[in-house]
């Protein structure tokens, strides 16, 4: 019975919430709407979508559970949160999979309608956990979400299937009320998303509001919460995912270099979103080619690069393997190209929707012959924008393919991003060779780069290809000395890039007992872990590599200033191996390969263990 009770509003600084349900329950949508609204309210945030590879796994199964975790705060956020404060479980399977992560005493919101005999059995429950005592350690709030949704829509004229499908908006409405979020951004989104189907748009809006008012009127909730905006630097912000930031970064690079952007790509999880975004940017002159396979993806990009475009290809691990031979062609023909690998769990098909960092060796070493390619890595969703510009700059200046590594965690995770203005983004100068007199296809400039000539330039007709080239003339050459010279020339050209990239920066003490060295998507968890251990008075420094090949010039010198180096990685220690062989030091490797990012607490405990103190247990 609804009552006019004034409910207490409790201020929190930091909340982690996880939405979990069947892969058909719309949890990704619920999570991303909650994130966008929360971003608009000025909180800092980090997200972790975690979904199965099956698009619609059989309902109620454990392997069909899809989750979306969101960490929002009035302070700086570096991770999607270690342990949720709130778990929304839309069915028994979602509860079974996710309960172990919920904080002791945390809030558990369930859809009691889905806890029927069939679903309980499928999730492996012999008794209903909502009715036995097994959940007594949590604040259990059990709501018949399906029937409340049906009630709200009983006059809508929609089918039962359509009505049931709206229930995620009821859940979203409840959580909006609970965390004091406005409905307007999602209402506006519903209106534009379902513009062509007014009945569905109306239904979703009604259900969203019904969920919100249910929260207000029910006695199940005694308290609602509010999280004040974070103190972020002044500016205009937008919530951004890693994949979207890569798409935007290359469009910006196209504008700043004055070159048309060409993407050759074959759909693959978790990289396809970049193709989706870029295929919508036709009015930016972007040409996207959905190729017949991964090889044609890169081959078409090489063709476009030969024609004078800023050319890129996007993929994930298995696709990288297929593109390998063509990367060698780009090395030999010295054409600019960016290859973007959104790493996922491997080997083979592996874990398509899960994150991993195990393609580092492949990126640096994985080609036939001496085939050096610069390798860069992004560290957060918004960093993807800057690193895309940087990858394009290096490719164009040094006439070389460049590999940009991201991963599933960065790609699908989101964070607020302070937007740069056009004049804050550096220009990328490009020169096409047109002079007949001084031309030779493999003559080099001060960067050891060969001239880029657009077909169509009169008088400069020439031939390039994958066979070894004679120095300067570019004619086919089998001369032993020339091959030795050219192999070393290509290696030097790439090595010299170390003079043109920023130094590796150390955060906190510049020398000392322990440096935590990371690369890629571990950035947030490491940053958070260091904040926590330093709050305990421990002196630990942090450095994060964005340039994996070549390394920043000062890397060896930085590493030698610390007694111990700890390298956390989502692989079996690939960076550790490279650092050991490159600098003849012995870093401590800390690895985890579960398809999930590190929790900051895991790194925190490892740091304490390395320092020889209590590990907090």
């Amino acid at each position: 019975m609804a009552q006019e009770t004034e409910k207490e509003i409790l201020g929190l600084s930091d909340v982690t919430i996880r939405f979990a349900g069947d892969s058909g329950d719309g949890m990704q949508l619920t999570g991303s709407q909650f994130s966008d609204t929360t971003a608009l309210m000025g909180n800092d945030l980090g997200t972790l979508p975690d979904y199965p590879a099956e698009i619609r796994a059989p309902a109620g199964t454990l392997y069909g559970v899809s989750g979306f975790q969101l960490h929002f705060s009035s302070n700086d956020v570096h991770t999607p949160g270690d342990t949720p404060d709130v778990l929304v479980a839309m069915n028994p399977a979602a509860l079974k999979i996710n309960l172990k992560d919920l904080k002791e005493g945390g809030m558990l919101i369930t859809n009691s309608d889905s806890f029927d005999a069939k679903n309980l059995k499928m999730a492996g429950y012999s008794t209903n956990p909502l009715e036995d005592d097994s959940l007594s350690r949590y604040k259990l709030i059990s709501i018949p979400i399906t029937s409340l949704t049906s009630n709200a829509l009983k006059d809508s004229g929609l089918s039962i299937k359509e009505i049931t499908r709206s229930k995620n908006f009821f859940t979203l409405g409840i959580t909006y009320w609970l965390f004091n979020r406005p409905l307007e951004p999602t209402l506006a989104w519903i209106e534009s998303k379902f513009a062509k189907n007014k009945a569905i748009a109306d239904a979703n809006s009604i259900v969203l509001k019904a969920g919100y008012y249910f929260g207000e009127n029910t006695e199940l909730f005694t308290t609602r919460y509010t999280v004040e905006p974070a103190q972020l630097p002044k500016g205009i912000y937008r919530n951004i995912s890693g994949n979207e930031a890569i798409a935007l970064g290359f469009v910006a690079a196209s504008k700043k270099s004055g070159l048309p952007l060409f993407l050759g790509s074959y759909p693959i999880t978790p990289a396809s979103d970049i193709l989706h975004f870029l295929s919508g940017f036709k009015n930016f002159g972007v040409k996207t080619f959905q190729a017949e396979d991964e090889i044609a993806g890169i081959a078409s990009a090489i063709g476009a690069s030969y024609g004078g475009s800023l050319a890129i290809t996007t993929t994930s691990g298995p696709g990288m393997a297929l593109k390998t031979e063509a990367m060698g062609l780009a090395v030999m023909t010295e054409l600019p190209l960016v290859i973007i690998n959104i790493q996922r769990g491997g080997p083979s098909t592996g874990l398509p929707t899960k994150t991993e960092q195990a393609d580092l060796f492949q990126a640096i070493y994985g080609r036939n012959g001496e085939s050096p390619i610069p390798v860069l890595a992004t560290s957060t969703p918004s960093d993807c924008f800057n690193m895309s510009l940087e990858a394009a700059r290096i490719a164009l200046k040094y006439m070389t393919p460049v590999i940009l590594l991201s991963d599933g965690y960065i790609a699908n995770g989101t964070e607020p991003w302070k937007l740069p203005h056009e004049n804050e983004i550096p220009e990328i100068p490009v020169h096409f060779w047109t002079d007949k007199e001084s031309f030779a296809p493999y003559k080099r400039d001060e960067n050891l780069s060969r001239p880029w000539v657009k077909p169509g330039t009169p008088g400069l007709e020439h031939r390039i290809g994958g066979l070894e080239k004679a120095h300067i003339t570019g004619n086919v050459s089998y001369d032993p000395d020339n091959h030795d010279f050219m192999v070393r020339m290509r290696a030097n050209k790439i090595k010299n890039i170390e003079n043109d990239i920023p130094d590796l920066e150390v955060k906190y003490e510049q020398e000392g007992d322990l440096l935590v060295l990371g690369w890629g998507g571990t950035y947030g968890a490491i940053t958070e872990a260091l904040i926590k251990v330093r709050a305990q008075g421990k002196k630990v420094s942090q450095a994060h590599l964005k340039y994996l090949f070549p390394f920043s010039k000062n890397t060896g010198e930085v590493l030698k200033r610390f007694k111990k180096i700890l390298i956390p990685e989502i692989n079996l220690g690939q960076l550790t191996t490279i650092i050991r062989s490159e600098f003849l030091i012995a870093p401590i490797s800390f690895t985890k390969i579960k398809g999930l990012p590190f929790k900051s607490s895991e790194i925190q405990n490892k740091i304490l263990e390395v320092l020889g103190g209590s590990n907090g247990k």
């Binding site: 169509g456 009169p458 390039i464």
Partner: protein, 343 residues
């Protein structure tokens, strides 16, 4: 050399000859193909800097080195994919693919069928010698069943591809066949392909005198070619023979040879060639003519149809969306509706 944009450039075959020594085996059919392409190019109305030859790997794929145009000798099987990217990026260029039966039909088969399907405006010259030459003599995807080679000492058990049928099945908009030893016909086919808008595929029968000598001799030797080659001409009845005494007519869907001198048949009974027929059935009948014993090998344009090319579609969409949304800028790209301000 005059390079006035308004006046067509007057080239000779020599203008298309690069300074590189040609390194094919003496007597190879590739020499003739190179010479005929160089002879026909002055007439295709393109400036030489606007012409690009892209190749894969194999004997045929050395072709770009010998043409004084832009050229790219790439990796095995990928020429069509690289050429597709170039053509989409630079639709004003005339982009040619020089390839062989191994490069295009085997390792590059996927790129070939999808290039045809998408109707990307490329001119594909496939040198078919029915053998792997550069790797010294293994059977290829167009080698006849039972062929004894280094890798099939007891005879190949593969069925061969029919390249014309494959191209037709993949919806290529221009499909033709010619022979290295018929210079005039080869030149004619090259010019026809150059004029065509869309994927143009020419199968060129080419003799490998080292590993598969005489594979097409019945079609090239003076004594036999008349009775074994059917030259297709648009709108003309299908007549051939040393004495022009044979014709092709359809018995249901099956082509049969008729004797035009026996008093029972006349030229009016012959099938009339229509390369523009929107229905592909007749083209398939021509492609499969030699499946039947005693039938001649057709050469010429088997099919030519007209439809929007892929690269035209790309430009059309860009134009349309740019008119609708206005040209994109970095500010428009980043500062979208879903932003908020922190003061």
């Amino acid at each position: 050399m005059a390079n006035n944009i308004d006046a067509p450039v007057k080239y000779t075959a020599k203008d298309f000859t690069s300074n590189q020594d040609v390194r094919w085996c003496p007597g190879c059919g590739d020499y003739s193909i190179l010479a005929q392409v160089q002879r026909s190019f002055p007439e295709i109305g393109k400036k030489k800097e606007e012409i690009v030859f892209i190749s894969g790997i194999g004997c045929s794929s050395r072709f770009p080195y010998y043409m004084d145009t832009y050229g790219f000798h790439s990796i095995h099987g990928r020429a069509a994919a690289i050429a597709s990217g170039l053509k989409i990026a630079r639709p004003e260029l005339s982009v040619w693919v020089a390839t062989g039966d191994g490069d295009l039909m085997s390792i590059g088969g996927n790129h070939f069928i999808h290039t045809c399907r998408k109707n990307i405006d490329l001119k594909i010259l496939m040198f078919n010698n029915r053998i792997y030459g550069l790797t010294k003599g293994q059977y290829s995807p167009t080698s006849e069943k039972g062929k004894v080679t280094k890798s099939s000492p007891y005879g190949s058990i593969d069925y061969p591809f029919n390249p014309l049928s494959l191209a037709l099945g993949a919806e290529a908009s221009f499909v033709a066949r010619t022979i290295d030893r018929d210079p005039k016909h080869l030149q004619e086919m090259v010019k026809r392909a150059a004029e065509h808008k869309g994927t143009a595929f020419i199968e060129i029968y080419q003799n490998c005198n080292i590993f598969n000598d005489g594979a097409f001799s019945i079609l090239t030797e003076k004594e036999t070619k008349g009775d074994n080659v059917l030259v297709l001409e648009q709108g003309k009845p299908m007549v051939y023979g040393k004495e022009n005494d044979k014709g092709i007519k359809l018995d249901g869907f099956t082509p049969v040879v008729i004797n035009l001198k026996d008093g029972k048949n006349s030229i009016n009974d012959c099938l009339v060639h229509d390369e523009k027929d929107p229905d592909p059935i007749r083209a398939f009948i021509l492609a499969h003519m030699t499946d039947h014993e005693g039938m001649p090998t057709p050469i010429g344009v088997v099919r030519q149809i007209f439809k929007e090319t892929y690269n035209e579609g790309v430009e059309r969409q860009i134009k349309h969306i740019t008119e609708k949304k206005g040209e994109g800028t970095i500010e428009k790209l980043l500062f979208t509706e879903n932003t908020w301000e922190v003061n």
